[in-house]
């Protein structure tokens, strides 16, 4: 999160500053990619690219807080994802590569990063096994950092429905984890 710098950064990005836009991108893109990876592994990169294209086109029209900016971008990405899934249902394709990023962070022990990346990938893979609406609610709450009302706006559901979806998803994950632990024992 950019915090207090957000308003100035957004203004500069709207005025055409590539540095400011890169700051916004780096802040949001990882969470956006994880969200899209959980919902549509094969199309995550393409959908993210289309979402950012839409964002840069209408960046000057946005005004609001940092949280509403994140909510706005995730809404755009979600709409792009729905469009992509609709197209894919008409024209099925086979993915060629696994595009999920496994690169390591600077300044950290590579083995720790690999373990963490693997654990992140494992966690995302587990969440992606949930029904899509539950997985989406969990990802928007946990990874995107949106509250119930914002998730409800993104998913076009009521806050109560979002709360129920989230709880069901978490309960299912807990059950799955306990089953894995019992299997290991």
């Amino acid at each position: 999160m950019l915090g207090h710098d957000f308003a100035a950064t957004l203004q500069q990005a709207s005025d055409g500053s590539p540095t400011a836009f890169a700051a916004l991108y780096k802040d949001i893109h990882p969470a956006l990619m994880r969200y899209l990876y959980v919902l549509a592994q094969d199309q995550a990169d393409d959908v993210a690219a289309e979402a950012w294209l839409a964002v840069v086109t209408s960046l000057t029209s946005f005004s609001g807080t940092e949280t509403s900016f994140r909510s706005w971008i995730f809404t755009i990405a979600r709409n792009k994802l729905i469009d992509a899934q609709r197209k894919a249902s008409r024209r099925p394709t086979t993915p060629l590569t696994d595009s999920h990023d496994r690169s390591v962070r600077d300044g950290e022990d590579a083995s720790d990063q690999v373990v963490e990346a693997l654990s992140t990938e494992w966690a995302l893979a587990l969440i992606s096994e949930l029904p899509q609406d539950q997985a989406e609610a969990v990802m928007l709450r946990v990874v995107a950092g949106l509250d119930v009302g914002e998730v409800a706006a993104v998913m076009d559901r009521s806050p109560g429905a979002v709360r129920v979806l989230t709880h069901r998803g978490l309960k299912r994950l807990a059950t799955k984890l306990s089953e894995e632990n019992s299997d290991e024992v």
Binding site: G16, Y25, P30, W52, S103, R105, A123, T166, L170, K171
Partner: protein, 252 residues
């Protein structure tokens, strides 16, 4: 016997809410610890490679969108500039026209229009372009009877060279020659010749030119315009014009 049935999942919901809000901390139950680890892994800090994946393409798109916005804004700015220049030019033209109208130098129809619309002087009292049938002129259209020619010509009558029936002025200093029916001053040194009905002074060897009540003198190409009480002036040969009461004279 009353058995109070707890709401289904309500204890879990509270715990899940606490987990999502990050308030669980160390007090998280053992059965939810694995779930907490999973959520922490899902929301782990991103690597630089994650942050910059696709950034180049996004920056390119951002630059293109910015260029398009600026290009779209440029025509509007240019149109505003053109509109401003057009307005300024129109104001200059209107101001100049109004000034000319009040100075009375517009052509008669325009002067009349200005008189009717903005109260400028009427064309009758100001227009110099209306020829005076009782006089001849040498010079441009701005020349006035009995006055000097040129753009600086004024409307006031000349005090020394006014001849009631007709007059002709040369380029040199005219001499005031009283004549009952007119006078003509030529170039050079004309000799005043009193004549009952007029006088004719010329340069060189002018031929007698009968003019009705007037003379034939002048500089340049004379216009053979018969005038009741006027003259035909010129340095070249004037054409003879019969005149019932005219008189022709020359310096021989």
């Amino acid at each position: 016997m009353t058995s109070q049935r707890p709401a289904p999942d309500s204890p879990d919901e509270d715990r899940f809410d606490a987990l999502l809000e990050g308030a669980a901390g160390a007090s998280v139950d053992a059965d939810l610890r694995a779930l907490k680890n999973l959520l922490d892994s899902a929301s782990a800090p991103s690597s630089p490679a994650e942050q910059t994946a696709g950034l180049a393409a996004a920056l390119r798109a951002h630059g293109e969108a910015t260029s398009r916005r600026r290009a779209a804004a440029a025509p509007a700015k240019s149109a505003r500039r053109r509109w401003g220049l057009g307005t300024a030019a129109a104001l200059v033209v209107l101001g100049s026209s109004a000034t000319a109208a009040y100075a009375g130098v517009l052509p008669a129809p325009l002067q009349d229009l200005a008189h009717a619309t903005i109260g400028a002087p009427a064309a009758d009292s100001t227009s110099p372009s209306t020829p005076d049938p009782a006089s001849d002129r040498v010079g441009g259209p701005g020349a006035t009877p009995g006055q000097q020619t040129g753009p600086g010509a004024t409307l006031a009558p000349a005090p020394e060279t006014t001849f009631p029936p007709g007059n002709a002025n040369g380029l040199t200093k005219p001499k005031n020659t009283p004549a009952p029916n007119g006078n003509a001053n030529g170039v050079g040194k004309p000799k005043p010749t009193p004549a009952p009905n007029g006088n004719a002074n010329g340069v060189g060897k002018p031929k007698p030119t009968p003019a009705p009540n007037g003379n034939a003198n002048g500089v340049g190409k004379p216009k053979p315009t018969p005038a009741p009480n006027g003259n035909a002036n010129g340095l070249t040969k004037p054409k003879p014009t019969p005149a019932p009461r005219g008189n022709s004279g020359g310096n021989r």
